[in-house]
C-alpha cells in the first residue's frame, strides 16, 4: 500500500484504536464497579460480571447480597453513565462537523435544554408513565431536541458567513429561553414533583433499572447506526456544504439524517439523566488531538472515551462525599467549563474567529 501519509486512516489503524478504546472502556467499567459504600473485592466483581454475561458457574451464583448490589444497583448506574457519556460525545462530534464549529456541544448550543423542556412538559403533565410499552418521556424529549436543533440550524443558515461567536450567542439565548419555560413549569408544579425535577435537571444518573436501560439502548442504537453510516459524509461536510456537495454528498439528506440522529440521542439521554454539560465538547476535542479528525475513527473512539469519562466522573460524584452524593453535572461543568474558556481564548485562529 502506497503511503501518502502515515497519519491517514487505514483499516488496521481503525481496528487498533477501536480495540484499544474498548479494552480501556471495559477496564474502566469494572474499575468503577468497585467503588461504593460497600467495598467489594475485584476478584468477586470480575466473577459476577462474567457470570452475568456467560451464566453462573460458581456455587455461590448470583443470589447473594454482593451480587444483588452489583447487578441491581451499581451495574445499571455505571452502564447508564457509559451510555450517556458516549452518546453526548458522539452528538458533540456530529454537531461540530455539521456546524463546522469545534465549540458546538448539545448543552452549549441549547439542544439539551430543548430536550429537557420536552421532558419537563411530559413529567409535569404526567406523561412520564408508559403509554402501552412506549414511554412518552423520551419521545417528548426527542421532540424538544429536534425543535431546538431546527431553530439553531435555521439561525445558523439564515445569513452567509455565520460566525462562531454568533452561534454561541444564539445558543446562550436559546438556553435562556428554554430554561425560563422550564422554571415556569417547575414553579407551577406541585412542590414534590418540582423538587424531583430540580434534581433531574442538574444532571443525575441515579436509580436506573434494567428495563429503562433497555429503552435507552433502543434509542441510542438507532441514533448510532445513522451517525456511523454518515461518518464519511461528515468528513466532507467539514470542508463546507458547497464543497461537500461538489464531492458528491447529498447535503440536505445527510443533514436531515444527522439531525434526526442527534435529536434521538440527545432526547434519550436527557430524558434519563437530565442536563449534563460539556462532555460533547471536551471529549471530541481531546480525541481529535490524540487519535484522528477522521469521523470514521473519531465517532467510535469519542463515544467510548466519552462513556469512560462519564463513568469515572459519576463514580467520583457518588463516592467522594459518601454516603451522600452530588450531581455528576457538577463535575462535568467544573472540568469542561474551564477547558471551553481556554479553547475560546487560545484557539481563535483555528476556530476561524479572527
Amino acid at each position: 500500500m502506497a503511503s501518502v501519509s502515515s497519519r491517514t486512516l487505514t483499516r488496521s489503524r481503525w481496528w487498533t484504536w477501536v480495540s484499544l478504546a474498548w479494552v480501556l472502556a471495559v477496564v474502566a467499567f469494572v474499575g468503577c464497579l468497585g467503588f461504593g459504600t460497600q467495598s467489594i473485592p475485584y476478584s468477586r466483581i470480575i466473577t459476577v460480571v462474567m457470570e452475568s454475561v456467560f451464566g453462573p458457574f460458581t456455587e455461590q451464583g448470583l443470589g447473594d447480597p454482593t451480587s444483588v448490589i452489583l447487578l441491581q444497583v451499581r451495574m445499571p448506574r455505571v452502564l447508564l453513565a457509559f451510555f450517556v457519556g458516549g452518546s453526548l460525545a458522539m452528538v458533540g462530534v456530529a454537531l461540530q462537523a455539521l456546524l463546522r464549529n469545534p465549540l458546538a456541544d448539545p448543552f452549549v448550543i441549547g439542544i439539551s435544554s430543548g430536550a429537557a423542556l420536552g421532558a419537563a412538559i411530559a413529567l409535569l403533565f404526567g406523561l412520564g408513565i408508559s403509554v402501552g410499552s412506549i414511554s412518552a418521556l423520551p419521545v417528548c424529549a426527542f421532540a424538544g431536541a429536534l425543535m431546538s436543533l431546527m431553530i439553531m440550524y435555521r439561525i445558523s443558515s439564515a445569513q452567509y458567513g455565520f460566525s462562531v461567536y454568533t452561534l454561541l450567542l444564539a445558543g446562550v439565548v436559546l438556553n435562556a429561553i428554554f430554561s425560563a419555560f422550564i422554571m415556569f413549569l417547575t414553579s407551577i408544579a406541585d412542590p414534590n414533583r418540582a423538587f424531583g425535577m430540580y434534581a433531574w435537571l442538574m444532571g443525575t444518573l441515579t436509580g436506573p433499572d434494567w428495563s429503562t436501560l433497555g429503552i435507552l439502548v433502543l434509542y441510542l442504537g438507532a441514533g448510532l447506526v445513522i451517525l456511523g453510516m454518515h461518518a464519511q459524509s461528515l468528513n466532507l461536510l467539514t470542508l463546507g456544504e458547497e464543497t461537500a456537495r461538489s464531492l458528491g454528498v447529498e447535503v440536505e439528506r445527510v443533514k436531515k439524517m444527522v439531525f434526526l440522529a442527534a435529536a434521538l440521542l440527545t432526547g434519550a439521554v436527557v430524558s434519563f439523566s437530565g442536563i449534563i454539560g460539556f462532555v460533547g465538547l471536551i471529549i471530541p476535542h481531546a480525541v481529535r488531538l490524540v487519535v484522528s479528525a477522521d469521523h470514521r475513527l473519531l465517532l467510535p473512539v469519542a463515544g467510548l472515551v466519552g462513556g469512560m469519562f462519564l463513568m469515572l466522573a459519576d463514580t467520583v460524584a457518588r463516592t467522594a462525599l459518601s454516603p451522600s452524593e452530588f450531581p455528576v453535572g457538577v463535575i462535568t461543568a467544573l472540568v469542561g467549563g474551564p477547558i471551553f474558556l481556554w479553547l475560546l481564548t487560545t484557539r481563535q485562529t483555528q476556530l476561524g474567529m479572527k
Binding site: 502506497a2 501519509s5 459524509s233 468528513n235 461538489s246 464531492l247 458528491g248 483555528q350
Partner: protein
C-alpha cells in the same frame, strides 16, 4: 454543426443545439439560465443570473470575467451543481445536469473553491484523499479507501508538489500550498472538467504564476476542460483560450481574449476606460490602468 469559438459570441444562439444532436466537443451548454438567491416575489428583481445562454467547449481553458457581483462565482456553482438554477437548462457533456445524481456530477466535474477553511485537524493527505469519495457508493457514504485510491492520491500529490506535506495539517501550510493541495483533491476525483473560483486570489505573484502554469499544464497534458473565475484580466488573457464576460448577471461578451479584452468591452462592462496594448511576449491583450 460547426462551433466557431473565435467569433465574438455576444448573445450566442444555442436554441437549436440543445434540441439537436449534441456536439462531442461541448462541455456545457446553457440555455436561458436564471438564478436568484432570493425566493418568491423578489426572485425576479434580485436575480444574480439572467437569460444566460452559451456553449462552453471541452478541452479548453475558459475564463469567466466580470465586475464584483456580476454573477461569476454563482455561474461556477451552477456548473458544479452546487446550486440549481430556477430557470433554464444546463447540459454537461451531453447529459442533463439536473438528471444526474450528485455522485455522478462529482465524477465529471471538480470544483476548487475560492478559499478552503478547515477548523478541524485534518492532514493534507486526508483532505486530498476526500476527493476519492465520489468513486465509492457506500451505505450513507461509508467506505474504506482501496489501493487504487491511494495510488491516484499519491500521483496527484506528487504532480502538484504537495506529497511532502502529507502529514501536515491543512491549517498549518501556506495559502499557495493549500491551494495546490485542493487542486490535487480535484484531480483525484478524475473529472473531465475542472472548475476554479479565483484560484489566485489570495496568492502572491510567485504563487499566482505557479498556479496559472499548473492549470495550463493540466489542460494540455490531461486534456482537462478548465473553467476559472478571475478578477485578473491579464492572467485570463494570457492563460485562457476563451473568455466569458458577465455584466449584471447577463452575458456581455464571449470569445477569444483578443475579441473580448478590448477597451470598448471593458468600458461597457466595468464603466472605466483602460489602456489595452499587446503583451511583449505573447502578443495577447494587456490591460493597464490609465494615469
Amino acid at each position: 454543426m460547426v462551433v466557431d469559438d473565435s467569433a465574438n459570441t455576444v448573445g450566442y444562439e444555442v436554441t437549436h443545439m440543445i434540441n439537436d444532436q449534441f456536439p462531442s466537443n461541448v462541455a456545457y451548454s446553457l440555455k436561458d439560465v436564471a438564478f436568484s438567491y432570493s425566493k418568491g416575489k423578489r426572485a425576479e428583481s434580485e436575480a444574480v443570473l439572467k437569460e444566460l445562454s452559451c456553449l462552453i467547449l471541452s478541452g479548453r481553458v475558459l475564463g469567466i470575467l466580470g465586475p464584483n457581483g456580476s454573477g461569476k462565482s454563482t455561474l461556477l456553482k451552477l456548473l458544479a451543481r452546487v446550486l440549481q438554477p430556477q430557470k433554464g437548462a444546463i447540459e454537461i457533456l451531453g447529459e442533463s445536469l439536473p438528471g444526474l445524481s450528485q455522485l455522478d456530477v462529482a465524477k465529471r466535474v471538480a470544483l476548487v473553491p475560492q478559499e478552503t477553511l478547515q477548523v478541524f485537524p485534518f492532514t493534507i493527505a486526508e483532505m486530498v484523499l476526500m476527493g476519492r469519495s465520489p468513486h465509492h457508493q457506500g451505505w450513507g457514504g461509508w467506505h474504506w479507501e482501496d489501493s487504487q485510491d491511494w495510488a491516484v492520491t499519491q500521483n496527484a500529490m506528487e504532480e502538484l508538489d504537495v506529497a511532502h506535506l502529507g502529514n501536515r495539517l491543512v491549517t498549518e501550510v501556506s495559502g499557495g500550498e493549500r491551494q495546490r493541495a485542493v487542486i490535487a483533491r480535484a484531480l483525484v476525483q478524475e473529472p473531465q472538467i475542472l472548475l476554479l473560483d479565483e484560484p489566485t486570489a489570495f496568492l502572491d505573484l510567485h504563487h499566482q504564476l505557479d498556479i496559472a502554469r499548473i492549470i495550463k499544464r493540466l489542460n494540455r497534458e490531461r486534456g482537462l476542460t478548465v473553467i476559472l473565475v478571475s478578477h485578473d484580466l491579464n492572467l485570463a488573457s494570457q492563460y485562457c483560450d476563451q473568455v466569458l464576460m458577465l455584466n449584471h448577471g447577463r452575458l456581455a461578451a464571449m470569445g477569444s481574449p483578443q475579441t473580448v479584452i478590448t477597451p470598448e468591452v471593458i468600458e461597457a462592462v466595468y464603466g472605466c476606460s483602460v489602456l489595452v496594448d499587446r503583451h511583449p511576449q505573447s502578443g495577447l491583450p494587456r490591460v493597464s490602468l490609465p494615469v
